[in-house]
Symmetry: C2
Subunit: 413 residues, 2 copies
Amino acid sequence: MKSLMLTDIGSLAVVPRGPISGRRMAEIEFIRNAALVIDGGRIAWFGRAQEQPGSFAGQRLSARGGTVLPGLIDCHTHIPFCGDRRGEFVRRIAGESYLSIMQAGGGIRVTTNAVRAASLDGLVEASLPRLARMLALGVTTVECKSGYGLSPEHELKQLRAVRELAARQPIELIPTYLGAHALPAEFENRAADFLAAIADAGLLKQIADERLARFIDVFCDRGAFDVQQARRVLLAGANAGLKAKVHADELAQIGASRLAGELRAVSADHLETIDEDGLESLKSGGVVAVVLPGTSFFLGIHHADARRIMNADVPLALATDCNPGSSHIESLPLVLNIACCQLRLRPSEALAAATANAAAAIDAADRIGAIAIGHQADLTVLDAVDIDDWMYSPGRNRTAMVIKSGRVVFSQT
Amino acid sequence: MKSLMLTDIGSLAVVPRGPISGRRMAEIEFIRNAALVIDGGRIAWFGRAQEQPGSFAGQRLSARGGTVLPGLIDCHTHIPFCGDRRGEFVRRIAGESYLSIMQAGGGIRVTTNAVRAASLDGLVEASLPRLARMLALGVTTVECKSGYGLSPEHELKQLRAVRELAARQPIELIPTYLGAHALPAEFENRAADFLAAIADAGLLKQIADERLARFIDVFCDRGAFDVQQARRVLLAGANAGLKAKVHADELAQIGASRLAGELRAVSADHLETIDEDGLESLKSGGVVAVVLPGTSFFLGIHHADARRIMNADVPLALATDCNPGSSHIESLPLVLNIACCQLRLRPSEALAAATANAAAAIDAADRIGAIAIGHQADLTVLDAVDIDDWMYSPGRNRTAMVIKSGRVVFSQT
């Protein structure tokens, strides 16, 4: 792979390697009039343009005075899925409760039926345009959860669809096995049997051996799985080599974030109802807190208290939670706008949350999410003077160019 | 102008002529598998595709199974402006008060300085890309307020920039004179002198005679102009033939919406603090209530109670309030997403608010904002199965094609 110099960078966001927490999230350094050299798909040099290596003989590419960031990382999505639940969206707006919608045959089971009915190719075809739109928004890495199949066969199909999707488009996909997402209809009142099937040692070994997933996740909440059930699933996953993630403290405080800390999970996600014990547990367990403001926006409910998490010195990441029920939002930049305008995150904090800390939330902070020598050259070039300009324009796509591992994979016409 | 048939319409939103209020906003009729005939730039026929006039001999254009709406109308913006206030945006996020920002030289006066320093051409050039982006979002008509010049010379320059902008791109622009937007620094403690200059009978006559504005607007609120001052300005405008609009009940309840009703204003805008008297006054005065959820989103404050306004049977319109200080949002679809997700408007209510009622808010409901025979053929074609699908995907631009007065003015590549 040839070397490439990105020139005429108006503002280079020198995001440090994650995880970063507390005030450091607001203290990102920016280099004005910068350049960056890519060699072998990795960042080989960056600095002030006037100090660029004189010996450089490769290709030059102009950033046209724009802002350059580490490629955005969406560290929590439920892609791949198919089908939609727009009818449910409108019924919820009209005041119908989630419970009543569930009882009328709505909710996650609708998506489970659609995913079970779909072929692997069907799942891939439904997801490709979604990923193409995410790429055009500056996203270079996406975490993808299974969890709609809810049987070994269909969970494996979802994970294999992720593998196929990874091969067919430029965004890097990080697969997570979320077999314990919900109790499917056929296991009503038989949670133990369901968990035995979904957290079967042989199945988990297969998933790990075939590298179909790097993480195992559980929806540990009121109405989903309790702490004891979640612990058992996550320990079984750990036994097979899958690192833990937890859907925690969304609907009720049942101790899910404490479990995440206890198990030293890679991330605890949602956290609308986290308490002091939970925060301390995340901190002592080295867990990244993933907040999902698109979900609270989409559902019209209160946001997680991101500032409190940052004040507790827990590294904060932000993600879309893209899914057909509670956050039908593909745009990570929109989620960052929500975080700035409604959760009052500074643009630099939002940026750190969607790069360095999002990388840490998928255990990849050693190679992506930062502008650092030797890091993978995943870069998003914005048609914006600086990141304040970027975040100050909600709803406007400022992505001019996207570079993945040193290769230009998107360019605004 | 040749006749044109729009074929293969998956869902045609038959929005009735505005203003529409109460439950009628939720009761929009949709025709599946529809067609629409345009003749002389106007809607000549629409209905089920199978009932299309057999004699039609003009051009046919496929909507590719998408959804067709009346072109979206942004009935409250502060375009044209120049300069930006992103620094202020970040300081506000960090907790600084608007008052402190003002005292440090920030706020509206920054924009006034920028607009005064700009030439007419400079204002036009700064606004053209903004309008091009709005067009690509399906917007066919935009109301444009002056109000940053704050002197006869610079207010006239802003209004002439609107005229120039109208000639140079496809969106129809509806100019409003907002001379009484804020007290400029040189008139500190001399509001009466300022209003005498800005509401001078000769100036207003010139604005009306040269058709530089159709409406006169006043920011009637705490910290701006009081009801008595606003009444005097609006009556002077009426005397010159300019219809009234009022920035009302945003910061405090000082009776601004009652004034709007009393004067039978075309619209009262903002309304975060409207009370029962204000609602009754709007209703009896035939005033359209314009709510601006992008502003409350951008500022991170509570939204106006749109449902209460609808329950009071006052026609509700929605707009972006696009401006550099309190709503740097160009996307009317994003504002509708905020209205659906956070203000709990049904997609049909949001649609009515951005078409029929937005047309009524600029006194143009007799010719735009509806799918009705004889109406101007302003149409937005969405790559969406129906309007629920459209509103269910916040942050995603679904605009496939835009037609203005029967002519295709935007097409997604």
